[in-house]
């Protein structure tokens, strides 16, 4: 990366301060450089993207940031996926909605550094003042003479300069492509079938493997009979495969054949006896009974507390209590799990839909005994990730099989394998107690969460450590306004593997937090949006609420339906005000509005849902309004798409699907029983993005948590019925 090209990258990972270094400087220093930008003598710009593209738009947002400061046309930039290399890129896990928020300042500075070096090179060539030149569209231009160099003509001279020490970044108002709805560069690849997903990866001589795995997630193969299997066409190998699933082991029998189809036919003829002694065969009923029981009898591991919540609750004018239940869920990415591995004696290469390449390197170093730097992990496009593809059992399987057969192999999970085996989103039960003072403000708040702690699964984890994510989803400002509170968790011990599921704990916490906030508002006799506003001190929250109020027509929400505002009734029962204007209760009960606001991954999202009754009396969703405040942002259209998608995913988990367990096995196998939201069930969604320069927050996940409580709060507004257990059938409300 030296010579006639300008290469700039970041150096310094895992907590060290990031430095911008040139390619040749890094080589001289003997350090690994993360080659983010490289400009060659033809002016072609190549930008490395270190994060996985799983639908959330990282393929676009990383280059969009660099191109803005570099002053190049995004269409002329080649985007290359970085391979897994933690030494180079630092933490590469695409999760926690972190791609933009963890790196944006460094990326902007790097683009700007390259631009400044090119300008300086041009100024020297023309022998003019640096200030008399500027960069635009891949050229450096001398203002007074209009003389022009394209970047390619400058890279050699620029590569001899040092990156400037002080960089002034562009002002927000000067952005040309940032904060603009620039079309995604990966879209055209996804409309003509040319995007290569993990499942599309093929190597010469590659065999295909399917595995019959222990259906109870972990456990061993007692014995198997492959007499028939070995006679099946195309079948080459049959053997036991052993992989780590967190602290446990899962065994299965691999059938390796010359095609996926033949491997699958071979698997059907296998006879396997399983040995799953040593762990309980849980059922959904047992799991929820255990969580509910622990909430009744135990206090939980205390997390965040203030004041004396017990005293505050006993002194409260009004006390509210509620228990909420949320289900286990499958990630069900449209691309089932798969991985290609080619393991040699002293090196290995992996290709697949992968969220956490660094973890895979660590894992395979241990499993294969090959040093990390000899393990190349290639991230293809991901057909969905949602957290599932950050776990690495499927990659370990592929490596295990490739090592065994001494050749390249692709492991493919069937849809059934993918739906049945997890890891799942953990089911949760929440107990909330709240007290109100005479003025209708929250005087005490007690929250206990019961459910599996994902961190407790890892080898060596302390099983009595508290869950730091207990408050995820709760608005930070509430901690200031509520005088007495306590948050704690009661970890559930279960062999069922669990993993991050889009927005992680917030995906279920948000339902409890914001349903309960609504119950408190109702007990206080206050408008639910106004009640929240009264408990939020910081201006940022007020601006979001004002926007939400404005776009959803909140204040006139009943008037908009041809009724006066005063006509708003509660549960179809006339209030004093509605009786006064003489509107029949049933008329104003034809529409319901609900609101919820949550905060996670450094972004705040408020959503309003409007529901109404169909002629047959059933509830339908008329519209959803969302306001996202993710601070400094890159691409408003990608944000809108992410919020739309988050809402639809939440709607599925709220009203359509859940994973149940019976005799230690998951019940739902495929989309006929694990039912997805479809186009005809999708409501109209309107998304707004707040415009500010706060620290950049996440985009891929924070739109999900507020939807479900906004929906159930709207149903309460319409029908007076509180929904506290998910999923529920919208047809049966």
């Amino acid at each position: 990366m030296t010579g006639a090209a300008l290469t700039l990258g970041l150096h310094g990972v895992n907590g060290e301060e990031m430095k911008i270094l040139k390619g040749d400087t890094a080589a001289d220093l003997g350090v690994e450089l993360n080659a983010w930008i490289s400009i060659d003598t033809t002016g072609k710009v190549t930008i490395m993207n270190h994060r996985a593209e799983m639908g959330q738009g990282a393929y676009q947002t990383v280059p969009q940031m660099i191109a803005e400061e570099l002053e190049v046309d995004l269409d002329k930039v080649d985007i290359v996926f970085g391979i897994g290399n933690e030494k180079k890129y630092g933490n590469q896990i695409t999760g926690g909605s972190s791609t933009v928020r963890s790196a944006y300042k460094h990326l902007l500075r790097m683009g700007a550094s390259a631009r400044e070096m090119l300008i300086e090179a041009a100024a020297k060539k023309w022998n003019v003042a640096r200030e008399s030149c500027y960069a635009e569209n891949g050229n450096v231009i001398h203002k007074s003479s209009n003389k022009k160099f394209h970047y390619g003509e400058l890279v050699e001279a620029a590569s001899k300069l040092q990156p400037p020490a002080d960089i002034v970044l562009k002002k927000t108002e000067d952005y040309k492509i940032l904060r603009k709805p620039v079309p995604r560069q990966d879209t055209p690849l996804k409309t003509n079938g040319s995007a290569i997903f993990g499942l599309d990866k093929k190597l010469p001589g590659m065999l295909y493997a399917v595995i019959e795995r222990n259906p109870r997630f972990i456990g061993k193969v007692k014995s198997f009979d492959d007499t028939a299997t070995r006679k099946m066409p195309g079948v080459k190998h049959v053997f036991t495969v052993k992989v780590n699933v967190f602290s446990s082991t899962r065994e299965g029998v691999a059938v390796v054949a010359d095609s996926y189809w033949n491997a699958l036919q071979g698997r059907k003829t296998l006879k396997v006896e399983w040995d799953d002694t040593g762990f309980e065969h849980h059922s959904t009923e047992q799991l929820y009974a255990a969580m509910n029981e622990s909430l009744k009898s135990k206090e939980g591991i205390s997390y965040r507390t203030k004041g004396n919540v017990t005293a505050a609750l006993s002194k409260a004018t009004k006390k509210v209590e509620a228990v909420y239940e949320t289900p286990y869920e499958s990630h069900s990415c449209m691309e089932p799990l798969n991985c290609v591995a080619d393991v040699k004696a002293d090196s290995a290469e992996i290709w697949g839909p992968i969220q956490a390449p660094g973890w895979i390197q660590d894992d395979l170093e241990k499993v294969l005994g090959i040093p990390k730097d000899k393990i190349i992990v290639n991230m293809t496009f991901l057909g969905g990730g949602f957290g599932r593809k950050a776990f690495f059992d499927y990659t370990q399987e592929a490596a295990f099989i490739s090592k065994e057969i001494k050749g390249p192999v692709q492991v493919i999970w069937t849809r059934e394998d993918d739906t049945l085996l997890g890891p799942f989103r953990p089911g949760m039960v929440y107990k909330c107690s709240g007290g109100l003072n005479e003025g209708g403000r929250i005087s005490g708040y007690k929250f206990t969460m019961a459910g599996q702690n994902m961190d407790h699964q890892w080898p060596g984890a302390s099983k009595d450590s508290y869950n730091g994510s207990t408050t995820e989803g709760f608005l930070e400002s509430y901690f200031d306004s509520i005088p007495h509170f306590s948050f704690s968790d009661l970890p559930l011990d279960s062999p069922i593997p669990v993993m991050w599921w889009r927005s992680v704990y917030s995906s279920t916490n948000g339902f409890a937090y914001e349903s309960f906030m609504d119950e408190l508002a109702a007990a206080a006799g206050k408008d639910p949006l106004e009640f929240r506003r009264q408990h939020l001190g910081e201006e940022r929250y007020h601006l979001l609420i004002n926007k939400l109020e404005e776009v959803s027509g909140w204040k006139n929400r009943k008037k908009n339906e041809g009724l006066p505002a005063e006509a708003s009734t509660k549960e179809g029962v006339p209030t004093e005000a509605s009786a006064k204007v003489g509107v029949p209760a049933e008329a104003s009960a034809k529409v319901g509005y609900g609101v919820a606001i949550t905060e996670c991954f450094s972004s705040i999202v408020g959503e309003v849902v409007k529901v109404s009754k169909k002629p047959d009396g059933k509830v339908k969703i008329d519209k959803v309004w969302a306001v996202m405040d993710c601070g400094w942002y890159v691409n408003p259209d990608i944000i809108k798409a992410q919020v739309e998608g988050s809402i639809i995913m939440a709607l599925g988990a709220a009203t359509k699907h859940a994973t149940h367990f019976k005799d230690g096995k998951a019940v739902e196998k495929n989309f006929d029983t694990y039912k997805m939201i479809r186009i005809n069930e999708t409501p109209e969604i309107e998304v707004h993005v707040m415009d500010n320069d706060e620290k950049a927050g996440g985009v891929g996940e924070p739109g999900l948590p507020p939807f479900t409580p906004a929906l159930t709060n709207a149903i309460f507004d319409l029908t007076g019925k509180r929904i506290r257990t998910l999923p529920f059938n919208l047809e049966e409300v």
């Binding site: 593209e53 639908g55 959330q56 738009g57 709805p181 079309p183 995604r184 990966d186 879209t187 055209p188 690849l189 996804k190 409309t191 003509n192 079938g193 995007a195 290569i196 997903f197 499942l199 599309d200 093929k202 295909y208 066409p233 095609s259 996926y260 189809w261 033949n262 036919q265 069900s332 990415c333 449209m334 691309e335 089932p336 496009f381 991901l382 057909g383 969905g384 990730g385 949602f386 069937t414 849809r415 059934e416 259209d637 798409a641 992410q642 739309e644 998608g645 639809i648 995913m649 495929n670 989309f671 006929d672 997805m676 939201i677 479809r678 186009i679 005809n680 999708t682 109209e684 969604i685």
Partner: protein, 159 residues
């Protein structure tokens, strides 16, 4: 094994496969056209949709023998340069997120527009509800089908 003649995107392929093999795997693994995707294997998600003699079918659930000597169109046959109006509309409305289901969605939308050049929301719901998108691109799919309908009528009137 059966000797099958597949006519995919106006090109003929003679393949020798298990007659029970679904058309999907013949297209993907034998012929090597990977734009058509595997999603569920039981005709529930639509990711594998291709046109068989012009009509949309779930290639995961029909045996390869049923396609012998018939005309098949896959996403690659719509156009490789994204010039087809449905592909254009998909780009204009920025439909795909992960993109995995979109080949099937586009094939279904193309078949719908051929039969019904001006679909209503209800028509779109009816034609597209067999297709799952886990990313939740449905609002944009709806928009894109209407945009494609306009692009097609503009193209027709320009002729």
């Amino acid at each position: 094994m059966a000797s099958i003649k597949l006519k995919i995107n106006d090109k003929s392929y003679n393949v020798d496969v298990d007659p029970k093999m679904p058309l999907l795997w013949a297209i993907r693994d034998v012929v090597g056209l990977t734009g058509t995707k595997y999603g569920c294997g039981i005709a529930q998600c639509g990711a594998c949709t291709v046109h068989l003699e012009g009509s949309p079918v779930r290639s995961c659930s029909i045996p390869v023998t049923a396609a012998n000597n018939k005309n098949i169109t896959t996403i690659e046959g719509l156009s490789t340069d994204n010039s087809h109006p449905v592909q254009q509309a998909w780009i204009q409305e920025q439909v795909p997120q992960c993109g995995y289901c979109q080949s099937g969605q586009i094939m279904a939308a193309t078949a719908l527009l051929k039969k019904n050049p001006n679909p209503t929301d209800k028509d779109i719901d009816a034609a597209m509800q067999g297709h799952i998108c886990r990313c939740g691109t449905y609002p944009r799919i709806r928009k894109a089908i209407k945009t494609a309908s306009q692009l097609m009528s503009q193209k027709a009137s320009a002729k």
